[in-house]
């Protein structure tokens, strides 16, 4: 630490340049993780925030709501199965909300309509207004991001390509589905909308897309075998099955992984070059009796201090970025992820400095005498 700090204080210029590069990389890591997190929550927050543990799909639906069609009768059967505490049906369909009779581009808003039973555990708590009811089937609760599109409590909107008109009676938060604001609607009305075309329900009585289960230690295979033609998965797997979700988060993850690899190389090379420049110095110190451990500690602690400072600045910049990003941007920093990535970056930096440490142990103190015979 002694040597490390003295050197940093003496060559501020050189070390601040390294810090700047490191800060940029840390910043980029955090921004990417924020974007990834924001996108994935936009894609599936309605799903992720549901108080359900398992999802029953039609066999062959590949854990995708849009490929699955089941009969509501299975809900009753599912409830009786072992470890299942509760079961509730759910349906989803994409639609476009038309504000009034307007034909303006701005007044058409894509939405995700999610059909649920009013009062079931799938219904999120409203932050404003009233919950769904069985009496008024065209009354819906919607994600509060629709406020930004100009929708207010009590507003009625039509669906494009349909005669249905829905009234907003409540707002919920963090409920998006397929990157679209979620509109929760009572099941019977959802069926009217989703199966408006005759025969599109394949003749199934009380069609739903999936059945959500609550309960711990449920064995998906048991459920699948007890209910004919079904496939049960965990909620996490159902999220993965959403169209585009895997691809989207995979892309971000791949970029992050590459960024980590690149950081390791860039930092490792930097520290290595710095160490190489100091070969002679280290040789002198070895000649006057410094042990490898002493010099290695100097290097590693120096890298540690530089990394820590850079990462802290990177985190601050990331939160600063989050503060000035436009509201519609899917950017969400997850404190837990920020901490994890900080630790990963710190470890990468320290590990990459070990290459330099190896170099130090090989320096011959004889070089310090200035002439090796």
């Amino acid at each position: 630490m002694f040597l490390a700090m003295k050197e940093i204080l003496h060559s501020k210029m050189r070390f601040s340049m390294i810090v700047i590069i490191f800060v940029m990389m840390a910043w980029l890591v955090f921004i990417l993780s924020g974007l990834g997190n924001g996108l994935s929550s936009l894609a599936a927050s309605a799903f992720k925030n549901m108080k359900a543990d398992y999802v029953v799909f039609e066999q062959g639906a590949q854990s995708s709501m849009s490929k699955s069609l089941l009969s509501e009768q299975l809900v009753g059967e599912a409830e009786k199965l072992p470890n299942v505490l509760a079961a509730a049906p759910m349906g989803s369909t994409m639609a476009t909300a038309l504000k009034g009779d307007s034909t303006n581009n701005d007044d058409k808003v894509d939405i995700a309509i999610l059909g649920i039973l009013p009062g079931s555990f799938l219904e999120p708590a409203v932050i404003q207004g009233d919950p769904l009811s069985n009496e008024n089937l065209t009354a819906v609760i919607v994600n509060d991001s629709m406020k930004d599109e100009g929708f207010q409590l009590g507003d009625t909107f039509k669906l494009d390509g349909s005669t249905v008109a829905l009234t907003i009676i409540g707002f919920v938060e963090d409920q998006t589905y397929n990157h679209l604001p979620a509109v929760f609607i009572p099941m019977p009305e959802w069926r009217e909308i989703a199966f408006a075309a005759p025969g599109s329900d394949k003749g199934i009585e009380g069609p739903v897309n999936a059945i959500m289960l609550q309960g711990s230690d449920i064995d998906p295979d048991t459920i699948s075998s007890k209910l004919t033609n079904t496939d049960t998965v965990t909620r996490a797997k159902a999220v993965q099955g959403m169209p585009g979700y895997k691809e989207e988060s995979g892309t971000i993850l791949m970029m992050l992984a590459f960024l980590f690899v690149i950081s390791a190389f860039v930092l490792g090379v930097f520290f290595f070059v710095m160490t190489m420049q100091k070969t002679n110095q280290f040789g002198i110190m070895k000649a006057i009796g410094a042990k490898n451990g002493f010099l290695s500690r100097a290097i590693v602690s120096q890298v540690f201090v530089l990394s820590l400072v850079s990462i802290v600045i990177g985190v601050l910049l990331a939160y600063g970025t989050a503060a000035i990003m436009p509201k519609g941007m899917p950017f969400m920093l997850d404190t837990k992820l920020v901490i994890v990535y900080s630790i990963v970056l710190l470890m990468i930096a320290v590990l990459s400095s070990l290459v330099s440490v190896r170099k130090i142990t090989k320096i011959d103190p004889l070089q310090a005498l200035g002439r090796v015979e």
Partner: protein, 233 residues
């Protein structure tokens, strides 16, 4: 009993193998007692550096034994040798070789740091040493702000920091003008006498030999005593 100080007994050093074998030192024996200042002169390539490296526990002898204060060095591990260098030997090198980013006082303290912690006493001792060597006003200077003579004096102070029993100087006057060279070598001679250290100086500089008690001549790996001054006590 002359086990104190530095002793080389029949030391030889070879480089290479077989037909390319080069003999750098041949049967070198020398005893340097505490308080004795010995000079080794000789043309380049004569084996002076090998001699100093072996005496300084930086290089192992091919044959023979180096004894430091009665302790034979040939059986020690690299780690133990680096402890010996730290605790027993003070090096003064050709071009001072100070650490560029340390202030003068820290140059001395880093030696203590290598051995563990820096105590208040160490700090006081370092300041005292530097004042003795006329560097009292330069404690906070970096090497780049010092003259050649000052740098060399810092190197002397650094060599003395750990109360060594042996001081090895490798061409300490190589980059100095005559006046500074005399200053530096007389300082070394002075410290050697007052602290009763065994000192060896390898040099080209014939002017500096007046400070030494014994002068050895080295040629083709062989060491020969050429001048001996009777100690004045």
């Amino acid at each position: 009993m002359t086990t104190m100080g530095l002793q080389l007994t029949n030391v030889s050093k070879y480089y290479g193998e077989g037909s390319t074998r080069v003999c750098a030192l041949e049967n070198v024996s020398i005893t340097v007692e505490p308080g004795e200042f010995v000079a080794v002169v000789g043309p380049s390539g004569s084996g002076k550096s090998s001699f100093l490296s072996i005496a300084g526990a930086l290089l192992k002898a091919s044959e023979g034994e180096v004894t430091l204060n009665g302790l034979p060095l040939s059986k020690l591990s690299d780690k133990e040798l680096s402890s010996i260098r730290l605790q027993e030997i003070g090096f003064i090198m050709q071009s001072s070789n100070l650490v560029p980013y340390l202030q003068v006082l820290d140059q001395l303290l880093v030696v203590k740091k290598m051995a563990g912690k820096i105590s208040a006493e160490d700090k006081a001792y370092a300041v005292k040493l530097l004042e003795e060597l006329g560097l009292g006003a330069k404690l906070k200077s970096f090497p780049e702000e010092l003259s050649g003579g000052e740098k060399q004096r810092v190197a002397i102070a650094r060599a003395l920091m750990n109360h060594p029993n042996v001081i090895l100087a490798d061409e300490p006057t190589a980059s100095l003008d005559t006046k500074r060279a005399h200053e530096v070598v007389s300082l070394i001679a002075n410290q050697v006498k007052t602290r009763r250290i065994a000192a060896v100086m390898v040099t080209h500089d014939e002017r500096m030999l007046e400070y030494c008690d014994k002068v050895y001549h080295m040629e083709d790996g062989k060491l020969q005593l050429t001048k001996q001054v009777h100690l004045a006590h």
